[in-house]
């Protein structure tokens, strides 16, 4: 089933950083749609919950060097 989750990343320090995280998240298996907004720091992910879960997204964001917070 498709599900949606949100994170808040307050430490994006450049617009490209947000695009990079967006690309990285969309490469995670089971992710159907990602929106990362530099201006508000809001990350919205639509995913297949039989394949992946929000923990994987938090890990991906951390790997890119940013701090995900629950939205």
């Amino acid at each position: 089933m498709s599900d949606t989750t949100q994170f808040r990343v307050l430490d994006f320090d450049c617009p490209t950083c947000a695009s990079t995280v967006e690309r990285a998240l969309s490469n995670v298996d089971g992710v159907q749609h990602v929106e990362v907004h530099y201006a508000t720091g809001r990350v919205e992910i639509e995913y297949d919950d039989s394949v992946t879960d929000p923990d994987a997204f938090a890990q991906t964001i951390e790997n890119q060097g940013y701090t995900p917070q629950p939205a």
């Binding site: 808040r8 307050l10 430490d11 994006f12 320090d13 450049c14 617009p15 490209t16 950083c17 695009s19 990079t20 690309r23 990285a24 490469n27 929106e35 907004h37 530099y38 201006a39 508000t40 720091g41 809001r42 790997n63 890119q64 060097g65």
Partner: protein
């Protein structure tokens, strides 16, 4: 401090610690180098400074490259590696340190912008006192079910959206509507989560809790608005996509031609599209956030940029410049008792939904002597309540749109309407009637004639009080160089009187709803950028036609928010000059930021080509320009 808390502390402040360490190493390495004429030891320290400061940057650069989003960190990493390769250790360390410092400060300031809205959400209390099974219980506010009764003590924050079922109080609604004055709330009134109960205890029947409250809906809309790209932003974004690769190609080209490594590495550093891409979103997010906290919902950057160009504001009269509470000011019978005129007119108008009809019917119910005493509206359900008279139903009735009504009652034909309706039906207007009507209209009142079986038996003058703020608002707009126009369905003379009272530049009278739209189109054809202010429901078509549609009193109504480009949460006219000025300030702010960014790159480029600017100084100026642009944009948060 135990080991775990040290790790936590380090994680939380990693950027600051890394930047500081790299800065100290850089300072130490440079001082040692200065004293020893840059010996091996100082070189080692400077390389260490580069590695400490550059590790995170290089890691992100790696992600940028693997995700094919070439960005600033890729450029900085290339420049630092290049500088080390050609033996310019202190330049490498300086570039990395200045970049870390810059992005640390950028992150910190952006965090402020990003959390500006969160403060609004924190207005809602976490728990609510609910009446369940006959006793009061403390439960999480999100767990309150619709229909449950919540008790809020004086001084407490209201945890849910709902309707007052018991108690009376003054509620500060600033978090939702931006109004600074508290609003009186009693039985049957709506209250919003996040507002503050100031005086008495209230019992509230919940209509929405958790994410289903007006405040949360507003905040979601504001975020959507902040995220929607303005035309300037998308233009710059498209440009930036090609910009970074182009800078890399340019740097390689420059090296091929000049064989000057420093020059081409410096090009990489100053070519970072920092200030240009960061400026516009910061300005717009700050402006939209500021507006939200003042009770103005801006739909997005695009609308904001358009609003910055407004040079004419059109106001709908009824309910916008006026309070929209029409009351009967005077009844005059011509050969018939005043009271008879009123009750006959009330019967004819009883089934009409026009606001003038409501005023006539209300006045008839109040009785001949009842003044509009502003009394409470308790128990009006029944026509036959003590002191109130009943108004009989007409046998039949027809509305003539924009003109009046024709009804039959007790075997009589009753016509209530304006001059146009009388002319349509060839009814003579005696001069004493015409004089009376002219005199009342000259005071800004709207007059209807009452005709029984073809003879005018009386006239009813009605008044819709101006909002106290209206003249000041019009004057403030005029001071800002903006033309003002009033649109109304009223006749010429009434419109002229109201226009003069408000001090508005121009008025258009006797307009049918669809005429308002064409009037706006007319102004647009003359080259004006037009804002239209209305209630957002009756005026929906003209709000949509205008370049910027502004809806008033939108807190409760989603339709108004849908149609409008800007929505004022409260019926607070004074927000309009503020919103227009904020839009103009935002437009300037975006231009300033773009200008500053372009100027910085141009000056730096000239500096590089004439060898005045090298890696470290280029990075310093670049980071300074980025910070300046962010700080400039953030001024709008406190506008």
């Amino acid at each position: 401090m135990n080991k775990q808390s040290i790790t936590q502390y380090y994680r939380k402040h990693r950027k600051a610690i890394v930047t500081a360490t790299s800065g100290l190493l850089y300072g130490g390495g440079w001082s040692l180098g200065y004293l020893t004429n840059f010996n091996t030891a100082s070189a080692a320290i400077l390389v260490l400074a580069t590695i400490v400061g550059g590790y995170d940057i290089a890691k992100t650069a790696y992600h940028e490259v693997t995700n094919r989003t070439l960005g600033i960190k890729t450029l900085v990493t290339l420049a630092a590696i290049g500088a080390i390769v050609i033996g310019e250790y202190w330049e490498a360390a300086a570039v990395v340190f200045l970049f870390s410092l810059g992005s640390y400060l950028e992150g910190r300031t952006m965090r402020k912008t990003r959390t500006a809205l969160q403060e609004l959400l924190e207005m809602t209390p976490d728990t609510a006192t609910v009446r369940r099974d006959g006793e009061l219980r403390e439960v999480p506010a999100r767990k309150v079910e619709a229909g449950e009764v919540v008790v809020v003590k004086p001084g407490g924050k209201i945890p849910v959206d709902g309707t007052v079922v018991d108690g009376e109080s003054a509620v500060n609604q600033a978090p939702v509507t931006g109004e600074s004055a508290p609003v009186h709330k009693a039985d049957g009134d709506e209250v919003y989560a996040g507002t503050v109960n100031q005086e008495g205890a209230l019992e509230i029947r919940t209509t929405g809790a958790g994410s289903d409250t007006t405040l949360e809906r507003i905040i979601r809309r504001v975020e959507e608005a902040q995220e929607a790209q303005s035309p300037t932003e998308s233009l710059i974004d498209r440009f930036a996509k090609y910009y970074t690769p182009a800078v890399i190609v340019l740097a390689i080209g420059a090296y091929a031609v000049t064989q000057n490594a420093i020059l081409s590495l410096t090009l990489l550093v100053i070519g970072c599209p920092g200030a240009l891409v960061i400026g516009p979103p910061v300005s717009i997010v700050s402006a939209i956030g500021n507006a939200a906290r003042s009770g103005v919902l801006m739909k997005g950057g695009e609308h904001l940029e358009r609003a910055g160009k407004i040079d004419l504001v059109a106001f709908d009269k009824t309910g916008t410049l006026t309070k929209g509470e029409t009351t009967v000011a005077d009844v005059e019978g011509f050969g018939v008792a005043d009271d008879e005129v009123l009750s006959l007119a009330a019967t004819a108008e009883k089934k009409s939904e026009h606001h003038l009809a409501d005023a006539i019917v209300d006045a008839a119910r109040e009785g001949p002597t009842a003044a509009t005493d502003g009394g409470t509206t308790v128990a009006q359900a029944d026509d036959t309540d003590a002191g109130r008279r009943s108004v009989p139903d007409p046998n039949d009735f027809d509305v003539v749109a924009g003109k009046g009504v024709i009804a039959h009652a007790d075997g009589q034909e009753v016509v209530v309407g304006n001059r146009a309706l009388l002319a349509d039906r060839d009814i003579d207007v005696p001069s004493r009637v015409a004089d009376y009507v002219r005199e009342r209209e000259g005071r800004g009142e709207t007059v209807v004639h009452v005709v029984r079986d073809g003879d005018i038996i009386g006239a009813i003058a009605m008044r819709d009080e101006l909002r106290e703020a209206a003249p000041g608002v019009v004057a403030a707009l005029q001071d800002a160089g903006i033309e003002t126009v009033m649109l109304t369905g009223d006749n010429e003379r009434t419109a002229a009187a109201v226009a003069e009272e408000v001090g508005i530049d121009e008025y258009r009278a006797e307009l049918l709803p669809e005429d308002k739209q064409s009037v706006i189109e007319g102004y647009q054809a003359d080259g004006h950028v037009v804002a239209m202010v209305g209630d957002g429901i009756n005026d929906a078509p003209s709000l949509a036609t205008a370049d910027v549609g502004i809806a008033m009193g939108a807190a409760g109504t989603d339709t108004a928010i849908e149609t409008a480009d800007m929505a004022l949460m409260a019926d607070d006219l004074e927000r309009i000059p503020y919103a227009v000025k904020l839009s103009k300030a935002t437009r300037w702010n975006v231009l300033e930021n773009v200008g500053l960014a372009v100027l910085t790159v141009t000056v730096l480029l000239a500096g590089v080509l004439t060898s005045y600017v090298t890696l470290a100084s280029g990075m310093l100026v670049h980071e300074a320009s980025v910070l300046l642009v962010i700080l400039n944009g953030m001024r709008l948060l406190r506008y």
